[in-house]
């Protein structure tokens, strides 16, 4: 497979709880991800090079300009100051490719309206805490899907065979995985989910 010589995917994990940070780091490393952990939404934005409202950046930061590319962001929902939802919104409001980085929300509370709100704001996945090793296998399809979209936009006419091989399987499984996992989370409480609008803001 073409993936063999690539560097591992890099996940930025955001959680204000120290034991939870250690746990998510271990889960991710065990699943062969490279991990950076931060304890707040504002530190996450800093890491991504996104500046706060009070200071405007001289130049918007693009995902490929980050010193270390971030392939996925996983964040706790309940955090003091900036919640995971606030962080998600800030990332999705970016005018650069940073907004295409997949975002996963974690929460210890199974609240369907909260889950829906996050998914509607553009979160790719919602994990109930405590997060388990089996949840980690849901991450890579989102990363591959976002990379396919990146490649498609950037190199529409230059896509190699290896890129399309990389894309075809994950695209098929991730959308069904996503709808299954969303349904599973919400159906536990007998809720019906609205259709998720996948189009990004342009």
């Amino acid at each position: 497979m073409a993936m063999a010589t690539e560097t591992p995917f890099h996940v930025l994990a955001v959680d204000d709880s120290l034991p939870d940070r250690k746990l998510i780091e271990r889960l991710l490393k065990t699943s062969s991800f490279q991990v950076t952990t931060v304890d707040s939404g504002s530190k996450a934005l800093e890491f991504l090079g996104i500046h706060g409202e009070d200071s405007s950046p001289p130049v918007p930061v693009h995902a490929d300009q980050l010193e270390v590319a971030v392939n996925l962001i996983i964040t706790d929902y309940c955090m003091p100051g900036m919640t995971g939802y606030d962080l998600l919104k800030k990332i999705k409001q970016e005018s650069t490719s940073l907004r295409d980085i997949p975002v996963v929300i974690m929460s210890s509370e199974n609240i369907p309206s909260r889950i829906n709100r996050c998914l509607e704001e553009g979160a790719d996945e919602f994990f109930l805490k405590p997060v388990r090793l089996s949840d980690m296998s849901k991450l890579k399809p989102h990363i591959l899907k976002s990379r396919c979209k990146e490649h498609y936009h950037q190199e529409q006419h230059q896509q190699s065979d290896s890129n399309s091989n990389e894309c075809s399987n994950p695209t098929n499984s991730s959308s069904s995985d996503k709808s299954i996992s969303r349904k599973r989370k919400a159906e536990d409480n007998g809720e019906v989910l609205p259709q998720k609008n996948r189009s990004r803001r342009s």
Binding site: S17, L18, P19, L23, R26, K29, S108, K129, L133
Partner: protein
């Protein structure tokens, strides 16, 4: 060295922690994450929990004294406690936190105070039991510890 007695002790202690409801399946999940590259993971994450939760217990106690009508603040503090407790599989702690939160919803200050006392007792008990458990584990080598055969 023959570890069979030690392993029996470890197995029996762990079984009793589960049977008595101190720990739940999440603790097994933690043990599955422990391997040669991270041989003390469980003990480390549990230590972080106790450090973090001791601080939270103090904050809850102070909040009950200084801001007894601020059930939102109390709920928020216990929510954190409950979350990290659940991450390490501390079942009894998690359940007592739920009780506390229910008292907050009912704006029942006395209920909150009683619940806090229970939480402190559960916290101390679990800490002591897990310390004993990890002491036993330390007597076997890391290779033995990494083996899941006594699950």
């Amino acid at each position: 060295m023959d570890y069979s007695n030690l392993r029996r002790q470890i197995f029996s202690m762990k079984k009793s922690l589960f049977d008595q409801g101190y720990l739940d399946e999440q603790f097994n999940q933690l043990e599955e994450l422990q391997d040669d590259s991270s041989p003390n993971f469980v003990e480390e994450v549990v230590a972080l929990f106790f450090k973090d939760s001791s601080r939270l217990l103090t904050n809850i106690e102070q909040a009950l004294e200084k801001y007894p009508q601020d059930f939102y603040r109390l709920d928020s503090l216990v929510h954190q406690f409950k979350g990290s407790g659940s991450s390490i599989g501390a079942l009894r702690m998690k359940n007592e936190c739920s009780m506390f939160k229910a008292h907050c919803s009912d704006r029942n200050l006395e209920g909150c105070r009683r619940s806090l006392q229970k939480m402190k007792r559960e916290h101390a008990t679990l800490k002591q039991k897990l310390e004993t458990y990890f002491q036993l584990l330390r007597q076997v080598g890391p290779r033995e510890r990494a083996v899941n055969s006594w699950k």
